[in-house]
Amino acid sequence: MTETVETDRRVLSHLQRLEAESIHIIREAVAESERPVMLYSVGKDSGTMLHLARKAFAPSPPPFPLLHVDTTWKFQAMYEFRDRMAKESGMELRVWQNPECVRLGINPFDHGSQLHTDMWKTEGLKQALDHYGFDCAFGGARRDEEKSRAKERIFSIRSAQHRWDPKQQRPELWNLYNVRRSPGETMRVFPISNWTELDVWLYIHRENIPMVPLYLAAPRPVVERDGALLMVDDERFPLAPGEEPEMRSVRFRTLGCYPLTGAVESKASTLSEVIQETLLTTTSERQGRVIDHDQSGSMEKKKQEGYF
């Protein structure tokens, strides 16, 4: 057997090939849509997707807005970072908060994580897409995150009611994407479908993509509940009698609503150290998220109902 050809400059690295594929997908979707939008959740996958979009259209800014489906319960640092990135990219930022949730004061402490997520995120997303009339929404989901994602297409057609029909998916051959839709149908597009968590970290490192500081370890006020370390990010956090926030060096592996996102104790204060710790760790990334554990196949059910 012959030795590998990795030294030949004609052989692209896996990151170059993944980048090229994602850029191709983003351009194809934009070229064939009336009103595209990029879902921006402020996390590292969103950040990677935003970076790819900027590269796809440079020297122009990406020709679509960012949409943040907000729950009002994100970390303060996420809001600051979100506004900074919108400004830097020269893109318009649309923020949607489900008015029903605002009126009822839906929150994870009183209503539980499931209702909170369903109403703010799943319903909120559908409302936002309908409200603005977006016909194509980019999402940062990856196929390696969850078993049912492995079979979802890169271009996913949703009915006018935003439902996903796993039996009616269009085959995707070569790099030829069929983006035709009937009136009322919309499309979800996942440009980083073929990336793994490791790919994302390596790419962030290589490209020096800005990230929310919450991914890096720092002393933060936390309380321990049911084995999870929760950060007391603002005064809305109801402390139990005798509960006292303490300063610990922690970081976050995924970012969501602060009362639903467990921190890990860590001293990794640089990106490289975070990657090192991530690779040496023993549990999957989504484990920190409450929604996946509800029931077997729960993600698939949520997607059929319109969850991203």
Binding site: L176, L202, H205, T282
Partner: protein, 635 residues
């Protein structure tokens, strides 16, 4: 255990580790075989061995293995893979799923597709993006029909590298004779279908033999284990070796000083200063800049997505192809192609479909197959159409000129997908072989007596008046009255009646969907020729499908097509039954009868709608003549 935990470098020197991993290459491969061959077990093991199974997944795997596993409580790696709930319950995978694992040298994307006969569609989809195929064989069974089918599809889709994984060798006592007999058998077959690069590996996915390392159970085997082979096999050479090709996806114009053409390079290399040609227009220019993200580059290679600016202001838009000026792709509109049908609704030869090739979405049609290929025996047989999962060789017509390379030379320049105009479903895929000489050599003859000359002589415009409606709805009755009135006004007319044309021009056609499409295609072409002669052509055909009426409309210039929907409810038409056909159909003596056991798709926006339960034929004829006057057809 976790991802790459054994890697010292990760613990010792993270920066060096990251540098090394950022330079890894990528291999996309497809696995072919059924659950019985141990395919899911193999992929599950690859994920497990590359330490990509986290503890929480592993805990779930252990509990699932005990509950529903097929390995008597041992880890059942196959359970790592199933996705959709319904499939999980059935115990089979019925779609393409993509899996990922990574070693120190390469990242791998695995297209996991099932081996069942009815899922050719899924395997073709998975193979279309793969550089290599791993074909699994159960050592106890040897080369089976399905092995041949998988190999044929792999070869058809242009995969040049094959690994033959002779699995379950533990169940034949690691027998060298068994392995060598299977290898010889397979190589003899593979040669016939043009697969040359084959590596045969004896293995047991269940026990882990020859997966990561040479197994002590097969001391007689001196080839590579599976993973080391996948890590080192060359696959990238094919892409950048050919001439430069880049279909334009997007024209990037932030300001007057920058006009860039964005796309993915699908062949060759390009450098600043290179002479390039734009297809299909044929204009040439030089590359001024190559932009990748915010940075300028000197050159770029196949597989990269870039933005190119040119030294000259020439017209380039989405769908055009930038190519090496001295080695451009051919341009044509009629081709011979392999067509793979992927939908329950069969291929309708002649029906107008949408075809996507490169970044171009155009109208087109596919002929009846010259022959169909049996994917199990590779035998050719005659066919009038293609059903789901069937493959045939057909002629394909695009409605405009397409830059292309044969599929065997460049996958991205020679492949297309077929999209249904009404449902928007992807119904087929095709691989271009070559342009038909007739499209290159048959040119349009310029005719001196043109349509304007006919119009001057006749004193009215030509037009197609297309009557559609159920049998017995009154199309011919009303059509006759219209023709009489027009004739009385000195208008030159002719009438094409469904029944009459079926006695002559179309007497070879029956009433299946396929034949109905061809019936309408022919009459639409005839109607067009007659409008070229300046006539007002009255067409009275049931013409039940929207797609073909649309095709007829698209054949003539805007404003020269008048669709008349003779809207008679089925019950009324059946009650009239002037030819006794409904009674026959109801007795089962006539099949494929529109309205009874064959659908009628009512027009959505006809120029004229005649409700025959509300107006007499005379009033209807009057309305139609008025409309033709309003359209400017009559003076």
């Amino acid at each position: 255990m976790c991802a790459h935990a054994r890697d010292d470098l990760l613990e010792r020197d993270i920066e060096a580790y990251l540098d090394a991993h950022e330079q890894k290459s990528l291999l996309r491969f497809i696995t072919c075989g059924s659950v019985d061959d141990g395919k899911s077990t193999l992929i599950g093991r690859l994920l497990y061995e590359s330490k990509l199974v986290f503890e929480d997944h592993l805990a779930a795997l252990e509990s699932d293995s005990k509950r529903v596993g097929t390995q008597g409580g041992d880890l059942d790696f196959a359970l790592l893979l199933d996705g959709l709930e319904a499939e999980r319950e059935q115990g089979i995978t019925i779609d393409v799923a993509y899996r990922f694992f990574s070693t120190e040298r390469r990242k791998f994307i695995v297209a996991d597709t099932p081996g069942h006969e009815q899922y050719t569609r899924n395997m073709v989809t998975g193979a279309s993006t793969a550089d290599l195929a791993v074909i699994l064989i159960d050592a106890r069974k040897g080369v089976l029909t399905q092995t041949k089918r998988h190999s044929y599809l792999v070869s058809l889709l242009g995969i040049r590298h094959v690994v033959l994984a002779v699995n379950k060798l533990d169940l034949v006592h690691y027998s060298r004779q068994v392995f060598e007999a299977i290898e010889a058998d397979y190589r003899a077959f593979a040669e016939q279908i043009g697969i040359n690069d084959i590596v045969c590996i004896p293995m047991s996915a269940l026990k882990g033999d020859n997966i990561l390392h040479a197994s002590p159970n097969t001391p007689w085997y001196h080839g590579p284990a599976l993973v080391p082979h996948l890590e080192t096999v060359h696959v990238d050479d094919d892409l950048s070796a050919g001439p430069f090709r880049m279909p334009v996806q997007w024209v990037n114009r932030p300001n007057l000083d920058f006009r860039g053409f964005s796309g993915s390079i699908v062949g060759g290399t390009v450098a600043v200063g290179d002479r390039i040609r734009v297809l299909p227009s044929g204009q040439t220019s030089n590359v001024a800049r190559i932009v990748n993200g915010g940075d300028d580059r000197d050159d770029a290679v196949a597989g990269e997505s870039v933005t190119i600016t040119l030294t000259d202001e020439i017209d380039v838009s989405r769908g055009d192809v930038l190519a090496a000026a001295d080695d451009p792709p051919a341009v044509a509109d009629q081709f011979e192609a392999h067509v793979i049908w992927m939908h329950e609704q069969q291929l309708l030869p002649g029906r107008p479909y949408l075809l996507k090739i490169g970044t171009r979405l155009v109208g087109g049609a596919i002929s009846a197959p010259k022959y169909r290929i049996n994917v199990n025996t590779l035998e050719h047989s005659a066919a009038k159409t293609l059903e789901l999962n069937e493959i045939g060789v057909c002629n394909v017509n695009f409605d405009r000129l397409i830059p292309f390379d044969p599929y065997v030379e460049n996958r991205d320049m020679g492949s297309f997908i077929v999209v249904d105009r009404l449902t928007n479903a992807t119904v087929g895929a095709g691989l271009l072989h070559f342009a038909l000489r007739r499209s290159q050599n048959v040119h349009w003859q310029t005719i001196d007596v043109d349509i304007d000359a006919h119009v001057r002589l006749k004193g009215h415009q030509p037009c197609v008046v297309w009557f559609t409606g159920l049998s017995g709805s009154g199309k011919s009755t009303i059509g006759n009255l219209v023709e009489k009135r027009l004739h009385a006004e000195g208008v030159h007319t002719t009438m094409l009646d469904g029944d009459n044309v079926r006695h002559g021009l179309n007497k070879d056609l029956g009433f299946t969907d396929v034949d109905r499409v061809e019936n309408i295609r022919r009459v639409a072409e005839v109607a067009k020729l007659m409008t070229d002669a300046g006539l007002v052509v009255l067409v009275t055909f049931i013409s039940p499908f929207r797609a073909e009426r649309r095709m007829a409309r698209d054949l003539v210039p805007d404003g020269r097509f008048c669709e008349v929907f003779i809207d008679t409810p089925l019950a009324v038409a059946e009650d009239r039954d002037p030819k006794g056909l409904y009674r026959k159909a109801r007795r089962g003596e006539l099949s494929n009868f529109t309205g009874i056991d064959s659908p009628y798709e009512a027009p959505e926006n006809p120029e004229i709608l005649i409700d025959t339960t509300a107006v007499t034929p005379e009033v209807a004829a009057e309305q139609i003549v008025d409309e033709l006057r309003a359209m400017g057809i009559l003076p």
